[in-house]
Symmetry: C2
Subunit: 735 residues, 2 copies
């Protein structure tokens, strides 16, 4: 069971081939997880409560953990020391690998000792998800495709409510600029961003069946098996350990050599395997009929924002900071999708790119007291547990780098709670030095604890000026903003002044290339030019058409003073990036409940804000006299924008309550024989408490609306209206 609750992510395996920008929230995720629907191994999983207070509360537990913590700290200190001493990379890598091992042992122990909150039965939840069509495998009648899911009415409504709330929380409240960009992306864009070259994994194929394997996973599994065998010589074991440490940095040839040396075959069929194949994770296609424009399905929505930077800046009247946001689908051709919604080939993202020149934030004050669980890089390296701080403290202490990053982290935290994530199962984990991109000041993932372990759901990272710089280089269009200087500044401008007429005469058709080369010289080159002209009387200019000898007659260097009022800056980018499907899955897990004493009666305790429907309308029986009341009620609910479902199917009222519970519907209105009498009244039932009240028919639509919008609480409603006492038949009513 331990491998399910692992807290250590195999980031490095995914990251090695990726450029810096992918080292953040890239849906990397613990591997070796079961496929959707294969429930065999995980009947019931203990979900521990990881909060520090609880762990710290028991001195006995801390006693057990103390030596393990010391052990991590010792190794963390060693890694630090090696880095400071600029020790050979292989030594650092080895030390980091050992640090990770020790961290894993500590965290596994920590989880195993913390008091279990509940037993979670994933197969039961998956059964409910399929049976009530929250989502299910796409194209199932055609045999299905792994890594693709269709959302049914309930999953779709949940997803759409999550997105609507996201739009309100971020776009409307922060007045962000929402864009909606193309999914099909031509190759040059993704070449500039680094995706074409490096968004790839090495794989190998079974030469007979064509089955594909991720090569690093295959080698690792193969070598670990040899290492674990009794009769393996100690020498070989040590060598294998060495190889495993180096594996992350190996290229295709090195891996190929390993495959040959250890005679690796398909672990499934035993067949021969192909040589390593570089496999890009982007889906490719051709745009237009000519076959000349190669394109990809975007692997993230962010690039659409970057290529529109100029238009957005202009829309914002040239001013920084501003944030742009995009909600949309992205695509990754995973070699082996798994774990249901957690690793898929097609997924919805909500991404924000906040462009700024300073990192303080005007609204930081408003959220500074938000309490969150932080698992800093330092804590991870020093064997300390995650700790609860206010975001204000975290920024003041320097745990979180700056206010802007902190502001977004707090807003992410609040959003996650609003959609139904259990605050006890939400933490912000900082990337450690060895997993963070070289440019990043700071980088935090919002992780949710699930039966698959901690799952990255939102990444919040500083992308610096990387993307804008890359697209500027590729297109020649300067993606930069102008910033007014506090005071005008005198600067010295150095330029080469070509004698165009003379150059034209002497070099004819090469004149343009020469003039272009002169115009693009930077200050160092210009100094050289001046020096050579003065001292040697000539300068050899390097151009794409070859070298050309220039004399003082042909070119001179001029220095002038210039007053500037603005400076050009390429803004930094803070990127909060939400994986909607992953959050949705965690919401479902965190809200999956069983009625006490009846394991068969499961339900989703979803907050009304995101619940697929706010309300069910249930006529007690098929009596035709109920119909006009039901119809009118439905109309009135529609008028006040309360999404609802009339369930007039046969089946006892208890059975129908159970069904609405399964759908996560928070309220149910029952029309019965008393409704017909004047004054017309109905019963209103709340899902979680199963409490019922009796209230006038004409008041119920607005009461449900106010409950659903959190304008009033269920306690308020219970205080106002009389309780309705009638035992629900809670036993054996699940349909």
């Amino acid at each position: 069971m331990k491998n399910i609750l692992t807290l250590v992510f195999n980031y490095s395996a995914l990251r090695k081939h990726l450029p810096p920008i992918f080292s953040q929230f890239r849906f990397s995720h613990s591997d070796n997880l079961p496929q959707w629907g294969s429930n065999k191994t995980h009947r019931k999983i203990k979900i521990p409560n990881p909060h520090r207070e609880i762990i710290m509360a028991d001195p006995k537990i801390e006693e057990i953990l103390a030596p393990l913590r010391a052990c991590v700290k010792e190794q963390g200190d060693l890694v630090r020391k090696l880095k400071e001493e600029k020790a050979p990379e292989i030594d650092i890598k080895k030390a980091v690998a050992e640090l990770k091992n020790r961290k894993k042992i500590l965290e596994d122990k920590e989880l195993s000792l913390s008091p279990a909150e509940e037993l979670f039965d994933r197969s039961k939840m998956e059964d409910l998800i399929k049976r009530r069509f929250f989502y299910d495998q796409s194209f199932a009648i055609y045999g299905g495709i792994t890594g693709q899911f269709d959302f049914g009415p309930m999953g779709c409504a949940l997803k759409s409510n999550m997105i609507q709330l996201w739009r309100k929380y971020f776009i409307l409240q922060e007045q962000m600029l929402e864009v909606d960009c193309s999914i099909l992306t031509p190759e040059p864009v993704l070449k500039a961003s680094g995706h074409v070259e490096r968004f790839a994994d090495l794989m190998t194929k079974d030469i007979k069946t064509g089955e594909c394997f991720r090569l690093d996973h295959l080698i690792k599994a193969h070598l670990e098996k040899i290492k674990s065998e009794k009769n393996t010589a100690a020498e070989l074991k040590a060598e294998i350990e060495d190889i495993l440490v180096k594996l992350d940095g190996m290229n295709a040839d090195e891996m190929s050599a390993l495959m040959k040396r250890f005679d690796m075959k398909s672990p499934i069929s035993g067949n021969e395997l192909t040589a390593p194949i570089e496999f890009n994770l982007m889906f490719n296609t051709q745009i237009g009929p000519s076959g000349l424009v190669k394109g990809f399905l975007r692997p993230e929505t962010a690039q659409g924002i970057f290529v529109n930077f100029k238009r957005l800046l202009e829309f914002n009247q040239g001013r920084l900071p501003f944030a742009a946001a995009q909600i949309g689908n992205s695509f990754r051709n995973e070699i082996s999708p798994r774990s249901g919604l957690l690793r898929v080939r097609e997924f919805t993202m909500c991404e924000i790119e906040h462009f700024c020149d300073t990192k303080d934030h005007p609204k930081f004050e408003s959220i500074k007291d938000t309490q969150m669980l932080f698992y800093s890089a330092d804590s991870q390296e020093q064997g300390r547990p995650a700790e609860i701080l206010t975001i204000g403290e975290a920024v003041a202490r320097g745990t979180v780098n700056n206010e802007t990053l902190g502001y977004f982290m707090a807003r992410i935290h609040l959003y996650m709670l609003a959609v139904g994530i259990d605050p006890k199962k939400l933490r912000f984990r900082q990337h450690m030095g060895n997993e963070m991109a070289h440019y990043a000041c700071d980088c935090w993932d919002a992780e949710c604890l699930s039966s698959y372990g901690w799952v990255e759901c939102v990444g919040c990272a500083d992308r610096s000026a990387y993307d804008l710089t890359q697209h500027t280089k590729a297109t020649g269009t300067r993606l930069a903003a102008e910033k007014k200087l506090p005071a005008p500044k005198q600067i010295e401008v150095v330029e080469a002044i070509p004698n165009k007429a003379a150059i034209g005469k002497e070099f004819k058709k090469d004149a343009k290339v020469i003039n272009d080369a002169l115009a693009s010289m930077d200050s160092t080159a210009l100094e050289q030019l001046q020096e050579k002209l003065e001292n040697d009387g000539e300068f050899a200019l390097n151009t794409p058409n070859g070298d050309f000898k220039l004399t003082p007659k042909l070119v001179s260097v001029k220095k002038t003073q210039k007053t500037i009022h603005v400076e050009e800056i390429i803004p930094s980018v803070i990127e909060p990036s939400f994986g909607v499907g992953r959050i949705l899955y965690c919401i479902l897990e965190h809200n999956f409940k069983m009625r006490e004493g009846d394991e068969q009666r499961t339900y989703f305790s979803l907050p009304a804000t995101v619940a697929p429907m706010k309300c069910a309308v249930l006529p007690l029986s098929g009596n035709v006299e109920f119909q006009p009341f039901v119809r009118e009620l439905s109309q009135e609910l529609t008028n006040v924008d309360v999404s609802h479902k009339v369930d007039d199917s046969s089946g006892s009222i208890g059975r129908r309550y159970a069904r609405t519970d399964e759908l996560g519907v928070p309220y149910a209105i029952t029309v019965d024989f008393d409704t017909m009498k004047e004054p017309h009244t109905v019963t209103l039932r709340e899902r979680d408490s199963m409490g019922q009240i009796r209230l006038p028919l004409q008041e119920v639509p607005t009461v449900v609306r106010d409950l659903a919008n959190s304008k009033i609480s269920w306690a308020d409603a219970e205080a106002k209206y009389p309780k309705f006492e009638q035992q629900e038949n809670v036993k054996g009513v699940a349909a």
Copy 2:
């Protein structure tokens, strides 16, 4: 200018390669339209008012049109007669082509004579759309890709508001089952639906430049040119006419022969052209790393609903009718995208599939008095203009086939008006017999009049049981519903009873195939089997493994009586299908206005429901004392969910009003020096009338909310609060 205002669509050109299901709303559209941003030819376009009353009001106009109407009617009658007489297909085709010509002449004349409502300047509107980044070409800094557009903040908000209203109008109010299915679709699904085989156009390439041309367009243009030349012999002209009529039905070989015979070259470079190439309009890719699973980007969202039919039916507790809906992107690799948003490669659709067994509709009564403009097939064939009827009359008369279709048409009509389509520029055009798929009972497109002519924006068609039947055939999964019979029914069941032991013994490994073949025999086949066994004492059974001789010892035929309570039916499908981008474009055209007397001051008169923002907040000047009021106001507007923008940039208040007008923002609140005094008041301005009122600061957020939600009208607000009189500087303030 006539070709812009054409009312005749070149449907046949698109349709010829398509299976019946594509003959409806398939984004076919008048061709030969200019590219995005090429404004040269269309500086100003007269948009006529096409309504019948106006046309009919002037007897002089009717006098001119009368002979043209008679001319159409004569030909329409001829077509009808030929069809009744089952004349040779070529004769019918010729007659239809002539009918279309006559129809076009009539409609062009009709438009040219109808009183012009306004002058529309498309280049001015496109300039505004780009300048304020409603939308613009994707990847422009990389040179751009035709047929792909990015929506900026204003376009995106408009689109998202349109979709949100659509969800409310259709999904919530009609309690439809919304789904969200995969875009990547494996080949077998689209083979079954007919897309792989027939969703294709023939094209030809310039052998040197690689430029592609749609072959039918190329041939048509080439032959029409020859036909129009003075020195072309009358005989050849007649022959060309004949060819043009047949062109629609020609295959690749026939077209190739024409290319050779008339020595066709690239019309652009004069280079040689390749032989005809069949080009499928779907984008293809591989799903997964093995390259074995061929997939496409879906060309419509509908198939995702059909393949989930069983799950949806079950979700609806097995009952009919029900409707499923999907909002999402679809993709078509157009050979030559054009006309801005009207023909693109990537587009958002909102599709409904209403599954039903009867065509009456319980809510028809509620919309039966909706007045709409109908252009029936009959009117088109008889040269009559479109006419205004209530949908109740249209169904009663049989103009519209049934209540369900009528109900959806009326709901479409109401939705279109709610999002800002001009009712005078909206009509429902029925497909004519020759453009309608053979199965369809009825098929209507909601068309909007634009400077590109009438544009199909919503299709509303009966797809019958086509798709469910196709997927049933392909998968063996029966996509059918069970319907309770009014009374139990006795039926005779005939089946083949194999003697499995004997068959196994005699045929060994072929036994299974034989048993399967016997089990799948229909009643006719079973009758034959029985007859042969009785008369000849043997029967030759045809199977995939060959023929096998069966004797009465091996198989018998049994008839039994069975009482059934339900019957299996494959439901009919009514499909309203909305092209969001096309509607959005038409909304922009219909709401593009100029201030009287100032052509430079253009704006979008968008309804508040869909306007990108409901309100602007404008501090009169940069005075710091305004800031707390602005901040508080913005917070209060956020609290009541009013999307807004604070514009505290420099520039006169008039210039900033002009800017908010350009963005289509309906209301603007100005904070000025009087705001600072107690009681605090602000100015509220309405965009279209430019009227201003003065009201208390704390009342303004709810007043704007109620205005934006149409709970109160501007007249109500003007009646309640004092008018604020201050001349707007309307001249020359556009930024």
